[in-house]
């Protein structure tokens, strides 16, 4: 394991998104806050999902996690597709990176961006409404696991895609629907039984549900099930990413 190489690539990926921090950090925070203001204003007092928890408070962990996962995905996928389209991928392919070093660097940077954006949303949201934290370790564990999974998924999309619009399609037709239908804005127990059951096959639901448990100590599914789903998803995506890099699929066979 060449830790210097891995750390350098990780640092370069962080540097890359920090050079355009207005777009990569501030803009998603502002978007999440707009959701919070609009939905909170419209639905506050009309909907109570968990007993004793206001709708705006309920909404915050969902929005926070949604922002975290979207940005983690965007970090790896956009970095890889940009490097491919601009040709600068060669600077990563020529040095002696192993698949594990490559994976850890990219996913590590995706986690950092997810956490940076999530922290931004949280710090501004607490000025707006009281957000209880029942268990900070569960909050952190789900934030890190969620951004790890989405960073890995972004890596797969980035390796597979050859054009920017393929990444945009991945985001619009897979990431966005799965996120919006994962219980960000509602509890799946409030859905008709059939939709509630279908939601349980959406892996994003477990990210949001487990994360929310860390705030309120309540969730639609037992926390250990959510944790198990996340760990299995992380493992499967890790194996896929490492296998893709090792095979050179769409990276070394151009």
């Amino acid at each position: 394991m060449n830790w210097i190489a891995c750390y350098t690539l990780f640092r370069k990926e962080i540097s890359r998104f920090m050079k355009v921090w207005l777009q990569t950090v501030i803009a998603p925070v502002v978007t999440a806050l707009l959701y919070l203001l609009v939905f909170g204003h419209v639905l506050e007092g009309r909907v109570e999902v968990f007993e004793g928890v206001s709708y705006t408070s309920f909404l915050i962990p969902g929005l926070l996690m949604m922002t975290v996962i979207q940005n983690s995905f965007a970090n790896t996928s956009s970095s890889l597709i940009q490097s491919k389209v601009m040709g600068s991928l060669i600077f990563i392919m020529l040095p002696p990176f192993s698949e594990v070093e490559f994976f850890l660097a990219y996913v590590g940077a995706a986690i950092m961006r997810g956490l940076a954006v999530g922290m931004g949303v949280f710090l501004l949201a607490v000025f707006y409404v009281k957000v209880p934290i029942d268990n900070i370790f569960i909050v952190l564990a789900f934030a890190i696991l969620g951004s790890y999974i989405m960073g890995a998924l972004g890596m797969i999309a980035g390796i597979w895609a050859e054009k920017f619009d393929q990444i945009a399609a991945f985001q619009s037709f897979i990431i966005m629907p799965l996120t919006f239908l994962s219980g960000v804005f509602y509890s799946i127990s409030s859905l008709p039984p059939i939709w509630s059951e279908i939601s349980k096959y959406n892996p994003f639901f477990y990210m949001i549900d487990g994360f929310r448990y860390g705030f309120f100590g309540q969730s639609d599914q037992p926390i250990m099930i959510s944790l198990a789903v996340m760990l299995v998803a992380a493992l499967v995506l890790t194996v896929i990413c490492i296998t893709l890099f090792r095979s050179g699929y769409k990276l070394r066979d151009a």
Binding site: R11, I90, S98, D253
Partner: protein, 309 residues
Amino acid sequence: MLDPTLDAITVDGVSKRFGSLQALNDVSFGIHQGEFFGLLGPNGAGKSTLINAIAGLLRVDSGKLSILGNDVRSDFRAARQNLGVVPQELVMDPFFTVRETLQFQSGYFGIRNNDKWIDELLDQLNLADKADTNMRRLSGGMKRRVLIAQALVHRPPVIVLDEPTAGVDVDLRQSMWRFIRRLHAEGHTIVLTTHYLEEAEELCDRIAIIDSGEIIALETKQDLLDLGLGSKLLIRATRDIETVPLELQGKVVRCEAKDLELSFHRENDSIMEILDRLRAASIQIDYVSVVNDSLQDVFLRMTAKQGGS
């Protein structure tokens, strides 16, 4: 200490197919340590495919490639650590400055605190005043020099330059070659692909010509020039030449007024015999000169022969 008997680059039975195109067909050769080696060929001949295979940028279908004895797949760390590649395209990462680009590239090869060597490279490549300039703001020539610096940042003993002077002005080309010559004099193995055949003729010790995915010639520069064995005989007569003797008409390249240009084969033809025939036809010779084939003549003849087969 490197084993001096090891080849810098070994290409052994390498084949690569893209769909119906056989880009490389059982290519084998070795490049010795310390050589200045030229890899020439027309567009689409397989040069870049071969360079990319050597650099580990694409997987070959069969065969083996190694850098200083290290297989580019099974021992990729040592192989890539020993290799610096200047790519053909003017690529760059638009987020960073020149110095940041070189610092990151050093780190990718496991090198920390490389600023002294980076400063030396910037200085040698006339980029010192651009160190803190964003890559996007550099001219094409400057970007090309940064690519060279990136390839050298980990001090590789083997350097591959894939058409490094394409689109570069004459002054910059000269200064780049001075720098590359210095690296060669310091013991680096240099592999060059270029479309400027006079560059290869001037710089390279040994040259391979590749066409349609096959090596059609692999000789020292002099042997390759001799391989053509072609020359031109330039003759000026004292009066306008009206008729060329019948037996020489097949050799006429040009005949204008007093000037006659004949092609001849250095082994099969005799200059004296040609001159005697001209005199016998009452052509009085004012002066004669002989011009040997350039590498370009040899290259064009060989690749044309291959293309026609």
